[in-house]
């Protein structure tokens, strides 16, 4: 092949000619297509089918049962409990991460000494395995010897140790804090690149006209950043919706199901009770909910962009 590179091609048989370009395209895309089709699309379709059966690995049944699983799901308090927890987790963590991320991005936008160091440090939470994050927060927020309790106690903010993830009242909050810690810096880096595309001349001009900092932010930077903000928020929300590692490792869905999310519930139905039919119904319901969130977000985004024009 490399020899052919030196030969002037006119009139000679070329390797590239042996196959038309369309066939090459097909050939080169095939491995990726096969991989995604077998590991992503097939399971979704198969899961949809399984959700219409009473498949169980214990009883070895696998007969078609129509919508029986979905009827059961509709009346299943545990499912709705997990559904609300997931929605709450998604909403709270996405909003917090976007708002705090924006604040961080605004600071990073300014020139200061050690900016490179700060930016580099911000990749640490992102790179860390989520399981490690989860264990780390288990130690930070430990009910007895956790450093967070120690700091809060000595700062006089609380008068006795809080049993953070050991109590149903505060467990979900602890998980949200852990997620916000892990994801916000990365969100900030995404928003930072968005902010840097806002032309400096616009801001300078506004300043010349005597506009205060927050006015330039509110009327110039924020509207220009809006598309970036919404898309980053969408990706974040879809990702938060699937939360599994953090919950499974830190609380396992407890105490008293207070942190059960759709992913952890599906996992338990699938791999603890081995009811693959019902478990697939739970995960399909989750897939549908996620699709609705994505659709709603996209519609809103399109409306925003239209209005801006």
């Amino acid at each position: 092949m490399s020899a052919a590179a030196t030969v002037p091609g006119i009139g000679r048989p070329r390797l590239g000619k042996a196959l038309p370009s369309a066939l090459w395209a097909l050939l080169l895309l095939t491995p990726a297509f096969v991989s995604l089709a077998s590991v992503s699309f097939y399971p979704i379709v198969n899961g949809l089918y399984l959700s219409l059966t009473n498949t169980s690995l214990i009883t070895q049944e696998n007969e078609f049962s129509g919508f029986a699983n979905y009827v059961q799901l509709w009346g299943d308090a545990q499912f709705w409990n997990a559904w609300w927890h997931t929605m709450w987790f998604t909403a709270a963590s996405t909003v917090l991460e976007t708002v705090i991320g924006l604040c961080m991005a605004l600071i990073l936008c300014e020139a200061f000494k050690g900016r490179g160091l700060v930016r580099a440090a911000m990749l640490v939470p992102w790179a860390m395995p989520t399981v490690v994050t989860s264990k780390m927060f288990g130690w930070l927020f430990d009910g007895q010897n956790g450093i967070i309790n120690y700091i809060l106690l000595h700062a006089g903010l609380i008068d006795q140790n809080i049993n953070w993830y050991g109590s149903p009242d505060t467990a979900m909050t602890t998980i949200i804090i852990a997620d916000v810690w892990k994801t916000t810096p990365f969100m900030a880096l995404l928003l930072l690149t968005g902010l840097q595309t806002v032309p400096n001349s616009l801001i300078e001009a506004a300043r010349m006209d005597g506009a205060k900092g927050w006015i330039t932010f509110w009327y110039i930077r924020l509207p220009l950043l809006m598309p970036t903000l919404l898309i980053a928020g969408l990706f974040r929300a879809l990702d938060a919706f699937r939360v599994f590692d953090l919950v499974y490792v830190l609380t396992g869905g407890g105490p008293a199901d207070s942190t059960e999310t759709l992913s952890t519930l599906s996992y338990k139905v699938l791999f603890s009770t081995l009811q693959f039919g019902y478990g697939s119904a739970v995960s399909t319901a989750m897939f549908v909910t996620e699709g609705i969130i994505a659709l709603a977000f996209c519609l809103y985004l399109i409306r925003q962009i239209r209005r801006a024009q």
Partner: protein, 278 residues
């Protein structure tokens, strides 16, 4: 812009920067310090950042009692294989989408990217059944095949973005010289894309190294379990061994952090382009 800042604003900015630094680095530094402290010191009620006395006991426990190195080995095998497969398959696809005239290529890209948003819990059940039928439970193969598909969307997307920045005149010139399609990819495009290949490879590696759900479902013993599963199962009968966990966390996270810091500029560029297309 520096000269227009008031002293108050400057103080505010440095304070904010310091907060971000503590936010990002603080928890892990505490975890790192914990890994060198005796259990007695950790539960004494007066925590200190400097380990006193300094101990390697937890590292000893992690490696000798909990056999951490076996998980590390499994993770290395799976993650490295995933990385090379991802780069191979991903660069073929990205090259085809970027360089060969394909109708609806942005549609294809969008489909590939949206696949990465599928809830993984919806995939794990059916894939578990397939793995059982094919006798692939407790094998590296099952994990590698799965992780390839998980990493592929981002790898393809980022490589596509990079290939798009290479001037098309190169293709023209190569074609004039009679270079074949695979020759163009192998001898011309890929050597020019080395920095991007390193970054995307790192992203694929991190995805595989950190993955938990599929590893938990597909493996059941230490011969094949990866690090996240190993650490999740780090418990003693009567108490939580926070020190041992901290030691294991440090072992599996520090190399990752070093790599990421080393390649940080490329990673931020690559990911931003993957996350948000300007």
């Amino acid at each position: 812009m520096n000269d227009t800042r008031s002293p108050l604003q400057t103080v505010f900015i440095y304070l904010g920067a310091l907060l971000i630094l503590v936010w990002s680095g603080g928890p892990f530094i505490w975890q790192f310090s914990t890994s060198f402290q005796l259990d007695k010191a950790l539960t004494s009620g007066s925590p200190s950042l400097i380990p006193d006395p300094f101990t390697l006991e937890h590292y000893y426990n992690a490696f000798v009692e909990k056999e951490l190195h076996r998980y590390v080995w499994n993770s290395l095998v799976v993650s490295l294989a995933t990385t090379f497969l991802c780069l191979f398959v991903g660069s073929l696809a990205a090259f085809a989408l970027s360089r060969l005239n394909i109708r609806g290529r942005f549609g294809i890209l969008m489909v590939i990217l949206s696949v990465s948003m599928f809830p993984q819990i919806a995939l794990v059940g059916p894939l578990y059944l397939v793995a059982t039928n094919l006798g692939l439970l407790d094998t590296y193969t099952a994990l590698i095949i799965t992780y390839l598909a998980l990493g592929l969307p981002l790898v393809t997307w980022v490589l596509f973005g990079y290939f798009e920045t290479l001037p098309r005149e190169i293709d023209e010139a190569a074609r004039m010289d009679g270079v074949s399609v695979p020759g163009l990819l192998w001898h011309i495009i890929l050597p020019m894309s080395l920095p991007s290949l390193v970054t995307t490879g790192l992203l694929a590696f991190i995805t595989a190294w950190n993955e938990f759900l599929f590893a938990l479902a597909f493996t059941s013993n230490i011969d094949r379990q990866t690090i996240p599963v190993g650490i999740a199962n780090f418990t003693n009968q009567y108490y939580v061994p926070w020190g041992d966990i901290a030691a294991a966390s440090a072992v599996v996270t520090v190399p990752l952090i070093v790599l990421v810091l080393f390649f940080q500029r490329h990673i931020i560029e690559g990911l931003t382009q993957g996350g948000i297309k300007e």
